[in-house]
């Protein structure tokens, strides 16, 4: 714990772990070494094979004429590697970080000094990421998610894993993400201000909530539309060969990219979802997943903006569901590799979904939520609590109009959609960013309107298309009032500004 900042008023600058350059540079070193070996081997083999088997290796021309040449080459390689290593070492030497009561700062660069900082009261989440090689060496990366940037603004790489955990625990406690804690305002110099918060004392208390068994994960990947499409293609292959032996192989070759990409996607899903665990921590929830790259993310309950539960068509016989969330500060997922970031449950049963919902929406009444979710996932038509599109919407939306609908309780708004793949989004009233009502010409003729509820970027979108115009207007008006009312109540612990104003 030596690298932890002292609680004194003058925060120190720390260096990241000395093994960092090795970890960061290993790939480049490997590439260089690989290229050199490849060239040497190539020349060697060419010369060897060109001369035939009978000639011993010492005899062939390039080696003999170029004894000096080879030494020079080896020397160049060594020099390049040394320069590279020196550069990496120097960059490590000049990379320092500092954790003050208000900021996390990273200074780097030798000629071009760069300083990046993240204001702690703007930090939305602190995640620990453990790629494969650093994990072998007991290292971890600490990532700070900032609200406005949309991507990780600052990341400390690498610290030892206990260091990273301790620093995260301390910062999360100081941020007050778990409740009203000591404010992040600057203490008067020299004064011992930081009283230990209760969650800091209890430390990294994790209580396991659920885990996804690997067979179920693999099953969920296999029970997807692309897997079925692939199976059909594979089954069609012999038929194609039988029908036309000449074009058959060409068709197979055309399918190959699909096969490869499906394999890659499936592999990534299994690799990322492997040993997925959801843990309960004082700040909220923590997910941990991954086979080689183990990632650990803490999602403070107050930062969850919207929860989406969905069930693809093929998961229906198994009773599987997926839960994803919009988290403030995470931004849109940058492709498949990031998709797990916003996933609280990659595949699970309905009771598990209830568990997750209960944790993700601590403000909502539980029994109410379960009934709402059941209706949201399986309901059809206007009976029950959901208000659906009127019958005349069938002209615009023949299949789904009986499913699209919304239901509002005192705390949350639930929106359901999808006939084949069922989806339900649950949005706490106080998390609505803005509301829009829109109407196109056809909708105008049918007296329909769409309502869009804007949430922070993420996998969950909350929109109710083709509502009766009156319903739509009422929903938008009610949502505006709800949001305004709930906002005043909810401006408590989840709001970084409040404790600061209190202590100032």
């Amino acid at each position: 714990m030596s690298a932890l900042p002292a609680p004194a008023a003058a925060p120190q600058w720390h260096r990241v772990h000395p093994l960092t350059p090795v970890v960061k540079g290993w790939l480049a070193m490997l590439v260089i070494a690989g290229a050199v070996v490849n060239i040497l081997l190539d020349d060697f083999l060419n010369a060897f094979l060109g001369r035939g088997d009978a000639v011993p290796p010492q005899d062939f021309d390039p080696a003999r004429m170029g004894a000096i040449f080879w030494w020079a080459l080896a020397g160049i390689v060594v020099v390049v590697l040394l320069v590279f290593a020196a550069a990496v070492l120097v960059s490590w030497w000049f990379t320092r970080y500092q954790v003050t009561p208000e900021h996390v700062r990273i200074r780097s660069g030798v000629l071009f000094r760069q300083e990046r900082q993240a204001r702690l009261d703007r930090v939305q989440a602190i995640d620990i990421h453990r790629p494969f090689l650093p994990r072998l060496l007991g290292l971890a990366e600490l990532k700070f998610e900032v609200a406005d940037a949309g991507q990780s603004a600052v990341s400390l790489s690498y610290l030892t894993h206990p260091q990273a955990r301790a620093l995260r625990g301390e910062l999360l406690g100081r941020l007050g993400l778990a409740g009203p804690g000591p404010g992040p305002s600057a203490p008067p110099p020299g004064a011992p201000v930081r009283r230990p918060a209760p969650w800091a004392v209890t430390g990294d208390q994790e209580r396991p909530v659920l885990a996804v068994p690997v067979p179920r994960l693999i099953g969920s990947v296999l029970a997807s539309g692309s897997a079925v499409a692939l199976a059909v293609l594979l089954a069609a292959a012999p038929v194609a060969l039988l029908v036309d032996p000449r074009t058959g192989p060409a068709m197979l070759a055309a399918w190959l990219p699909g096969l490869v990409s499906f394999g890659a996607i499936s592999y990534r899903r299994v690799e990322q979802g492997h040993h997925f665990r959801l843990l309960r921590v004082p700040e909220g929830m923590r997910v941990r997943y991954g086979l080689f790259d183990v990632r650990s993310q803490t999602v403070p309950a107050g930062r969850i903006q919207a929860v989406g539960v969905d069930q693809p068509l093929l998961w229906r016989p198994f009773g599987w569901y997926r839960v994803r969330v919009n988290v403030a500060g995470y931004g849109p997922a940058a492709g498949e590799s990031d998709a797990m970031r916003s996933t609280l449950l990659p595949v699970g049963t309905l009771p598990q979904v209830h568990q997750v919902l209960h944790l993700a929406l601590p403000g909502a009444r539980d029994g109410d939520l379960a009934a709402l979710l059941r209706e949201g996932l399986h309901g059809l038509g206007g009976q029950g609590r959901f208000t659906t599109s009127p019958r005349r919407a069938r002209w615009l939306d023949p299949l789904v109009h009986r499913r699209t609908g919304f239901a509002a309780t005192g705390d949350v708004l639930a929106v359901r959609s999808g006939r084949l793949s069922r989806r339900t989004a649950v949005l706490p009233h106080e998390k609505t960013q803005s509301v829009a009502v829109s109407q196109g010409p056809l909708e105008r003729a049918l007296r329909l309107a769409d309502v869009h509820l804007h949430s922070t970027p993420g996998p969950v979108t909350v929109a109710v298309p083709h509502l009766d115009a009156g319903d739509a207007r009422a929903l938008a008006a009610a949502q505006a009032v709800h949001a305004a009312g709930a906002r005043r109540l909810a401006d408590g612990p989840s709001h970084a500004q409040t404790p600061r104003q209190e202590t100032a």
């Binding site: 960013q433 803005s434 509301v435 009502v437 115009a469 505006a480």
Partner: protein, 193 residues
């Protein structure tokens, strides 16, 4: 709202020229009893000018083969066929110019106690409600064409991507008043994420 700009409310008395038959206040999506503030009438000039400019650009971009054919440089070219793309560009430009007055009149905004409403669109109409406490920042931008008419565009950003609300064609004084007022209201009602 005490500080409403001098322009009449959307759809209210004097909202449009006589004979304007488009109901600018759509009872289906507009909140009841709300008086919209309209953007500056000079915004129409800006829209028409920029439409003409872009039409000219498209005419030039799509029309040069026809010019070559007509002047005989490109002998044997199907002139009738080559005239089609520039004609389409011209038609689209003319349609936009014709629709511009009504489109501009369909833009409105309203400040309420807790939120700001922005309305856009003629064929596809949209009313966006943005609570003041949700605004992350307010942008005021001025394009060269707008500058020569003393207008600006006020853009509101929340943490959500979907709620990009834009009020184009606001007079400079009104734009800075809006910015100050929105910022002040936003700070007073600031809500955490």
């Amino acid at each position: 709202m005490p500080e409403r700009s001098a322009h009449g409310p959307v759809g209210g008395p004097g909202a449009g020229t006589p004979g304007d038959r488009v109901p600018l206040s759509n009872p289906a999506i507009d909140p009841e009893g709300l008086a919209w503030t309209r953007v500056s009438p000079r915004h129409l000039t800006v829209v028409v000018l920029s439409t003409l400019l872009s039409t000219l650009f498209w005419l030039a971009a799509l029309g040069w083969p026809a010019v070559l054919a007509a002047t005989g440089v490109w002998a044997g070219a199907p002139l009738g066929l080559l005239l089609l793309p520039p004609a389409a560009a011209l038609a689209a430009g003319l349609l936009s110019v014709l629709l511009a007055p009504r489109r501009v009149r369909a833009i409105g905004y309203a400040e309420r106690g807790e939120d700001l409403l922005v309305r856009r669109g003629l064929l596809y109409q949209r009313v966006t409600v943005i609570p003041y406490g949700r605004m992350q920042y307010v942008d005021v931008s001025v394009s060269p064409l707008q500058r020569s008419f003393g207008l600006a565009t006020v853009k509101l950003h929340t943490a959500a991507v979907g709620s990009h609300a834009e009020i184009p064609g606001v007079e400079h004084a009104e734009a800075s008043r809006l910015r100050e007022r929105l910022t002040a209201r936003g700070e007073a009602l600031l809500a955490g994420l």
